[in-house]
């Protein structure tokens, strides 16, 4: 038994200043095991694996690799020990080819034989069922290809202990399946794999064992066979939670905002959106699914009146508002709210307090030259109470609040404007489970009130459960607009990859 333990961490403690990132954490990973490291944002997952990969060293505690105590002073020593980490943000050189990226940073004789290296890479690829075009430059690769390259890079260095940090965050469902197969292959070959994630579905599907961290501490290590998503969530959050995302039933769905054949150019003069048409309805959540950078950001900004259209029309309740600025739209009596992806860089002013941030959307409605903060103080107090924002006070700079509380302030402000249309872009990104569900509830509440909600999301399960319809974008074009009740994750994934709704349904029919 002892023989098969690849990684053992004992009583690891790590502090940053006054912040306790890890406290007495234990972790045991066996040979041929896929081990999930689960926890909310800030639970200390990344810190823990960064100590394993030699980026940090622990304040106290010990690290055993294959039974031998190690003391890593740098990532180099960790790599030499057979530990390979695939970071969430890839560490590749854009201008170099796949092969050059694999070789870079490796020890070897002064002259390396290209053929020999190629042979070694190809045999690795066969062993683990990987594919890569060795002469392709990284800048021309898709996200999935880049990740594949990262994995090959790590394996080429001889790693048999692999750490993957949120590997599925940027992939479409088909790519995720592919990745899982590769990981299972690694397991078969006797590697130990550690996956950091917060997606429970993936943990249940792929892993053998899971260690849950909460606020830097070990909560429990359990076999997947002996647990359930509900149980894991409770371990992560530290209490019972209601995991149901409900699609609220609403009547009175009427067309309210028509988007007709719009195109938008990005700053490089390329088309970010191309001939996009759809209609938003009252009392509806319209989900938007797309791989990052497919034009969803431009879409949100276009609907909100922030970017110029190169073509097409925006019609709100029969009134043409094409080319109008947000302020002009407001003057027409149309209330449009938006929760942008970049909360502190766009939606809020980080250094200002809650009152001044509420002011952002209201100061221009006040009369005269001066600002009256009094009514907003009341509003700020109400917002803090109603949405349970945890803050030292309404005069505290918002950037010092936690991610969930920042989002509550932003979403709260936008909801207080009593919008007709609410555009939200990744509203739950980076939030913990409690805050996430609170945000879903708020969106549903708005829908019940008759608001037309646009929800750009990344988790397809959530999109399928929360939305009424789902709009799928690929390369700035609409590849599908489907009823969320009558579609599947796979179908959406196909459309995200560029297959149109028609071709998929034809295939299905034939």
């Amino acid at each position: 038994m002892r023989e098969s333990v690849m990684v053992e961490l004992k009583n690891i403690t790590k502090t940053f200043g006054t912040v306790l990132a890890n406290e007495d954490v234990d972790l045991i990973v066996q040979k041929g095991e896929i081990h999930a490291l689960l926890g909310e944002n800030g639970a200390g997952k990344s810190t823990l694996v960064n100590m394993l990969s030699g980026i940090y060293s622990p304040d106290s505690g010990s690290i055993f690799i294959r039974g031998k105590q190690m003391n890593f002073d740098s990532p180099k020593e960790s790599i030499a020990c057979g530990i390979g980490m695939v970071h969430q943000h890839f560490k590749l050189v854009d201008r170099l080819t796949a092969k050059e990226n694999i070789i870079a940073g490796n020890k070897g004789s002064f002259f390396t034989s290209g053929k020999e290296i190629e042979k070694k890479i190809i045999s690795l690829c066969e062993k683990y069922d990987l594919t890569v075009d060795l002469s392709k430059r990284v800048q021309d690769m898709s996200v999935g290809e880049k990740q594949m390259l990262e994995i090959i890079k790590v394996l080429y260095r001889g790693a048999d202990i692999l750490i993957l940090d949120e590997p599925t965050a940027v992939l479409i469902p088909q790519e995720v399946e592919r990745l899982f197969n590769i990981i299972r292959r690694m397991k078969k070959e006797g590697c130990a794999v550690i996956i950091i994630t917060h997606k429970l579905g993936e943990v249940m599907e792929l892993c053998d064992k899971v260690t849950v961290l909460r606020r830097g501490k070990n909560v429990e290590s359990v076999d997947i066979a002996q647990t359930s998503p509900k149980h894991l969530t409770e371990l992560m959050v530290g209490g019972a939670v209601d995991l149901e995302i409900q699609r609220v039933k609403t009547e009175n769905k009427e067309p309210v905002y028509e988007i007709k054949n719009i195109s938008v150019m990005n700053s490089d003069g390329l088309k970010a959106l191309q001939d996009v048409s759809f209609t938003m309805h009252t009392s509806e959540i319209l989900g938007v699914a797309a791989v990052a950078g497919s034009g969803q950001k431009e879409l949100c900004e276009a609907l909100f009146g922030l970017v110029k259209l190169s073509q097409g029309e925006l019609v709100f309740k029969g009134e043409n508002i094409t080319g109008k600025t947000p302020r002009e739209i407001y003057k027409k009596g149309i209330s449009m709210s938006s929760v942008p992806e970049d909360r502190l860089g766009m939606g809020l002013v980080g250094s200002m307090d809650i009152v001044d941030n509420l002011l952002l959307k209201e100061y221009y409605t006040q009369k005269g030259l001066f600002i009256n903060r009094k009514p907003l103080k009341e509003k700020a107090k109400e917002l803090v109470n109603r949405l349970q924002v945890s803050t030292p006070g309404i005069h505290h700079p918002v950037k010092q609040l936690s991610g969930g509380n920042i989002q509550k302030v932003l979403l709260g402000r936008e909801i207080y404007l009593e919008p007709d249309v609410l555009i939200t872009s990744y509203p739950v990104r980076g939030l913990d489970i409690g805050a996430t569900y609170q945000i879903y509830d708020l969106l549903n509440e708005q829908k019940k009130k008759g608001v037309s909600v646009l929800f750009v999301g990344e988790d397809l399960d959530v999109l399928l459960n929360l939305s009424d319809r789902i709009l799928v974008l690929c390369d700035g074009k609409v590849t599908g607009l489907v009823d969320a009740k009558n579609t599947t994750k796979e179908e959406i994934g196909m459309m995200m990859a560029g297959h149109t709704q028609e071709t998929i349904q034809n295939k299905g029919g034939a």
């Binding site: 860089g345 980080g350 100061y363």
Partner: protein, 355 residues
């Protein structure tokens, strides 16, 4: 983004005060060594610097006269800095303001005194303001770098005055000496409590700017735009308009300082009119944390440093260059401490890495 969050959390008030106190102590110590090296007792020199700037009614007046242009210019600079528009062209804006005022003073001196002074002020604000709105427009329209444009425009302004002084505006009564004619009495600011009324103008401006930035819509827009252009865009603000307004206000106020200097201090226009106030004011604005009330205190301290520095030249027969070195050492330490405040912050940012 992550760095900014850490920045605010890490820079506690106590720590800042501690670092700055240490900086001043270090400044006095290093300067003390230097004073010893040139053969004087540092304690005597320090105390006479204080005596030299506040020791008598006359000296206090002199210190205030030196503080006025620094304070007014710093107020102007802060208006642009709030927007993160790095206006380092206040020197040129002072000069152009003085030029506008002089144009009125030399041409229309026959009008009643009140009318002359008022039109001098308007001319100064407009000329200085135009000198600031040009880089503002270039930035809003084409995204040019405002630091470089404002800096370069300082030299254009300076050479323009040299041209006037040696050319078209040369006083025919000066027997060939290249100087511009002195202003008539109607173009000279009156005194109040023994000091020209520039100090009242300065204090009024402190209140006005403080209210403008903190309690008006336009001031709010400037601050929001300074924090993030995207946020301003998202909130529906007209970014170009705000940039033009803020740069005009910033430079116009600097121009007003130029009018006060030309009218009340030199009674004419010459190439020394700004005398580096435009640069010193940048430091003052920054050290005051862009807060108008604090600028009153900091500009008085700077004026005292300048005044005390010139006093010890005569009192101890220290050459001017040595007095300048003493000033420079003190400044170096105080400004250098800013780096340490920043450095700690960035260091913290590098280490705190969650999840």
């Amino acid at each position: 983004m992550r760095v900014r969050v850490v920045k605010a959390k890490e820079s506690s008030r106590n720590k800042k005060i501690l670092i700055q106190t240490m900086a001043i102590a270090a400044a006095l110590l290093i300067t003390g060594v230097f004073i010893l090296a040139i053969g004087h007792n540092p304690i005597n020199v320090y105390s006479s610097m204080i005596k030299g700037s506040f020791g008598s009614a006359y000296r206090v007046k002199e210190t205030i006269i030196k503080a006025v242009p620094l304070l007014i210019t710093a107020l102007g600079i802060a208006a642009a800095f709030r927007m993160k528009f790095w206006n380092i062209g206040a020197e040129g804006q002072i000069i152009m303001g003085a030029f506008g005022a002089s144009f009125v003073a030399l041409r229309f001196a026959d009008l009643p005194k009140g009318a002359v002074l008022l039109s001098m002020m308007i001319a100064a604000v407009v000329c200085g303001g135009v000198w600031g709105i040009i880089p503002g427009y270039l930035k809003a329209k084409w995204g040019t770098n405002e630091s470089i444009v404002t800096l370069m425009m300082n030299y254009i302004a300076l050479k323009w005055i040299v041209y006037l002084q040696y050319g078209p505006w040369k006083d025919p009564a000066s027997q060939g000496f290249p100087k511009i004619a002195n202003f008539a009495d109607s173009a000279i600011l009156p005194k109040f409590l023994g000091v020209h009324i520039g100090w009242i103008i300065a204090l009024v401006l402190v209140v006005v700017i403080h209210i403008f930035i903190n309690y008006t819509k336009k001031g709010y827009e400037i601050v929001v735009l300074g924090e993030s252009e995207n946020t301003a865009r998202y909130a529906g603000m007209d970014i170009k308009k705000i940039v033009l307004l803020a740069t005009f206000i910033s430079a116009g106020i600097a121009g007003l300082a130029g009018m006060i200097q030309a009218s009340a201090v030199s009674n004419t226009l010459n190439m020394q009119i700004a005398g580096g106030a435009g640069y010193t004011a940048i430091i003052i604005a920054w050290l005051s944390g862009l807060s108008a009330p604090w600028m009153v205190v900091v500009s008085l301290l700077f004026a005292a440093l300048i005044q005390g520095g010139s006093f010890i030249q005569t009192a101890f027969q220290i050459p001017q260059s040595a007095a300048d070195i003493i000033q420079a050492l003190i400044l170096f330490c105080v400004l250098g401490s800013q780096f340490f405040i920043q450095y700690k912050v960035v260091f913290g940012g590098g280490e705190v890495r969650g999840n």
